[in-house]
């Protein structure tokens, strides 16, 4: 297991289930999110200035950077926060097994030796698949500590009948999925039907039981930052363990401005309620540089607790390859080629 006992998955699970502190924000200890009653005033009071958010996201990238061994450490951190994902129509059991193998062993042994990080036992946080592959993934990951996440609730559009969506969650939970990535009904946001959205997410949460629920807002569909902020709040009030940007199927996926708005919503929620909600950036994150920019944004806006897999994830399929090449460059001083690293 990890060299960080206090942050280990097991410790986290324990804390989560016991309802004790899972994070700190500033000086304050935060509990896992159990949701709160829908507070419509709070939702209505949301103010987001899109231009200002974009400027901040842009300047953030120029304000923070990591170099040398710090960069290597941060890239390893990005791997450890990764939900390695395959969500394609042509997925097969074998494809999923291959992905799981990569998730257990994201870096080659020689690279690990060169970096001197054997003790870290770097692996991804989770493998994210459709329901039908949950069992396959669980088998493939047995004993690795890598979790299995299933996308659910009529992913990616989320437009099947509510009962079916809830049943889909239950099936995945019964199959043993540790985490469920659910999608919201975007129409509820456009229509300002916050109660309906709240009820929907609360129903999903109930179906999830002890499985972690990541609520996908599909921010590329919501389009406006105010919609993103309001939907974030409602999802958290309804009990989301994580809020997540995208399915990866929208035209625009995770962007830093959207991430900034969601991170600020998480901070606001934590300050008001004392409960911590995680964040998952999914889709469109393909380069090592992007991954450190995202981590830096989490560190700046929320603090170091959100640099752990317990509260932060990348949903990505191509990112790992670029990180491997960058780490290889760090270790050897030479630029690597894609084909030199085993594919997922």
């Amino acid at each position: 297991m990890s060299v960080e006992p206090k942050h280990s998955e097991a410790a986290y699970e324990l804390a989560h289930n016991a309802g004790s502190s899972i994070a700190t924000l500033g000086d304050r200890s935060l509990l896992p999110n159990t949701g709160i009653p829908l507070d419509l005033n709070w939702v209505q009071e949301v103010r987001v200035n899109t231009s200002a958010v974009e400027r901040r996201a842009q300047s953030q990238v120029g304000r923070r950077t990591v170099k040398k061994e710090w960069q290597a450490a941060w890239l390893l951190r990005a791997i450890s926060c990764m939900d390695l994902t395959t969500l394609s129509g042509d997925d097969t059991d074998e494809r999923v097994r291959r992905l799981c193998a990569k998730g257990r062993q994201p870096l080659q042994h020689d690279l690990i030796q060169k970096l001197g990080i054997e003790a870290l036992q770097i692996k991804v946080a989770a493998i994210c698949v459709y329901h039908v592959f949950v069992e396959t993934a669980l088998h493939a990951l047995e004993g690795s500590g890598v979790r299995v996440a299933a996308v659910s609730t009529g992913f990616p559009a989320g437009l099947s009948p509510l009962a079916e969506r809830v049943a889909e969650i239950s099936r995945s939970v019964e199959a043993g999925a540790h985490e469920i990535d659910v999608v919201i009904t975007r129409a509820h946001v456009f229509g300002g039907r916050w109660q309906a959205l709240y009820d929907e997410v609360a129903a999903f949460k109930q179906a999830c039981g002890s499985a972690h629920m990541k609520v996908i807002l599909a921010t590329g569909d919501l389009l406006t930052q105010r919609n993103v902020a309001r939907a974030s709040l409602v999802a958290m009030m309804a009990g989301a363990d994580f809020i997540k940007t995208s399915t990866g199927k929208e035209a625009v996926n995770a962007t830093l401005p959207v991430g900034l708005v969601m991170a600020r919503s998480i901070r606001e929620y934590a300050q008001q309620t004392g409960m911590a909600v995680g964040f998952k950036a999914a889709g469109g994150i393909r380069t090592a540089k992007q991954s450190t920019d995202w981590l830096a944004m989490m560190k700046e806006e929320l603090g170091d607790s959100w640099l752990r897999a317990q509260l932060f994830r990348f949903g990505a399929s191509g990112l790992l390859g670029d990180i491997e090449r960058q780490l290889d460059h760090y270790a050897t001083g030479r630029y690597s080629a894609e084909y030199r690293h085993p594919i997922a």
Partner: protein, 792 residues
Amino acid sequence: MSIAEKFVTMEYGPAPEDPKEAQAWLNRHHHRFQHFINGAWQAPTSGEYFDTLDPSNGEKLAVVAQGSSQDVDAAVQAARTAFPKWRALTPHIRARYLYSLARLVQKHSRLLAVLETMDNGKPIRESRDIDIPLVARHFYYHAGWAQLLDQEFPEYEPCGVIGQIIPWNFPLLMAAWKIAPALATGNTVVLKPAEFTPLTALAFAELCQEAGLPAGVVNIVTGDGSTGEALVKHSGVDKIAFTGSTEVGRAIRSATAATPKRLSLELGGKSPFIIFDDADLDSAVEGLVDGIWFNQGQVCCAGSRLLMQESIAEVLIAKIRERMSTLRIGAPLDKAIDIGAIVARVQLDRIHRLVSQGIADGATCWQPQVVLPSRGFYYPPTLLSNVHPTSIVAQQEIFGPVLAAMTFRTPQEAVELANNTVYGLAACVWSENVNVALHVAAQLKAGVVWVNCTNLFDASCGFGGYRESGFGREGGKEGLLEYLQPTWFKNAPKLSPAQMPARATEESETGLPAIDRTVKLYIGGKQARPDSGYSMEVRSPDGRLLGEASLGNRKDIRNAVEAARKAESWAKATAHNRAQVLYYCAENLSQRRDEIVHQLSAAVGEKQAAAEFDLGVERIFSYAAWADKFDGAVHNPPFRNIAIAMNEPLGTMGIICPNEAPLLGFLSLVLPALAMGNTVIAVPSEAYPLITADLYQLFDASDVPAGSVNIVTGYVSQLLKVLAEHDDVDAVWSFGDEANASAAKAMSIGNLKQVWTNEGRAIDWFNPKFSEGRWFLEHATQVKNIWVPYGE
């Protein structure tokens, strides 16, 4: 520490920018720099050099030539010699040179950025991402103006040799702001960089060489305040453009008063940062970071006075503190540093002193737990709350990373507090309600208002202040005009005494037999007896006593200024309404032709009297027409944003009317001021002040609101002095003799009011080409740029 440990701590670690190239550049110059004069390096005549330091560690970077008056003289001579040829080049060729400079800045951008950070102490992120790109942008933008000059300014010419003195907070950017528009308009320049930060200007000199810029077009003389003084006082300089402290700005205004040198001043500020309860608070806090924690707060337009709506104050202060805690302070060459070094020991001492005084005044001081580097000049980000307007930290420019916070209750109070300052450079308004934001923006006395943003700059948008923050604009079309003047003006003859009608010479007591009537003063819409109780005789050129006019004194001026200040609703009247009132003036005036021409004839002869009258009516029509047509502009900075350049009235104006055309001269000056919404205290022709009676009857009859025009007759030199010295007068126009022009400028330093004069030259009031239109309207207005980013 191993990677595995860093994986746990997740610290940023150092990310130093490599200074190798900049050090190589310094080595190439043997860490010793001469003046750049006439296209070549020239040793200082005194043989003296001074040190320039790296404020991040106090180490010496290089020695730089100390400019003497001989050096300044050589540079001015070089610029003078280069001027005719440079000016004679086609606009296209000048455009090519500016374009080359822009390209060269880009080509050497990293060297310039690193050098800037080493010399100034600002974070490399800022010099790399903000300063240097803006420098390049400034040259690109003005390459465009150089190309379009003849088409857009057909009747204008360059001023000549420009002396430019710049501050240490944005060394190369300020050089670009000064040099680019001057060159684009065909001027040549002598630039004096700040003593603390001369290096990038010297690197720029090399770019001028590389661009093949003709020798003498750009000259750079380094030195301290005495070098600047020599430049200001040099008779071969046609215009001074200064950016720096208000104190030095005052001295420059004084020193140039007796000369026809034009002047633009970009001075200090204590800019308000207003946050309403409906703002996006997290973004507003980030705006503060870009405002007061940008460049260590050493920014003239820094949002240093935080005005928070009471209902959100507590939440906001908590958010600000949290944000301050994540600011990283340290070596400015580190790419992940937010706050670098203060430019010099003396500046650091000043910050310490002012903050201590603020605390003594009752402010609560909060600073995050930060470890400052052991060497170099550093000051932590600082929040002073519970600050009251009376506190020194609410009044004085600190020029450090120190925010002074106070609260307001209503938008009205926000505006009142915001404007409660002698400065007027910039302001920020944060509200998600466009009605509130724009309503407040319109009322702020500031040259730049940023709505839901902070410290955005662009070459296409004018930058510059109201009040003691200076006058003149840099950037945009409005900035270009600072370096141009009407072609005819330089050749206009000086007024000769022969052109002046006879003056009143004797005083007599009121109540003595009057020939026909005693003309009173016109103050606050009422005829008023002069405070002095004296009147002045008015005689015709052949000595006949024509009548008596009141002898106004300083108290009458005081009363008139008060009346004018109270009449500010005139500025709020719609332009259409002002036009209607002016048309009505013309209508009423035209009905009294025979009577007025007859009386005026006694002073100026029948022919001139008739011409003054007929052209006067026409002139009123012109300005009635202009009232709703002197539009501002919408600039196009490279952001998703509209930058609205509004022509705003200056406020309360004192106008010394010309002697030689008592009626037409009065109307030619007072009407453009009125049309733009100013309120006026006019001193009519000293030679024939009897015109006052006709004028106040006219204004009374034409619904001109009480106080918007006030007329005080008397001795011009006395009344001018009171007006120029009056701190509640925003501008003075003097169109009398040369002595008046100099006096107006010299006496205006109290509040640094804008002064516009004829430099003692004769204006042909009878030719509309010279005596009406845009040139007058430009001087009756100041441009406010309101930045409004948009997007959802």
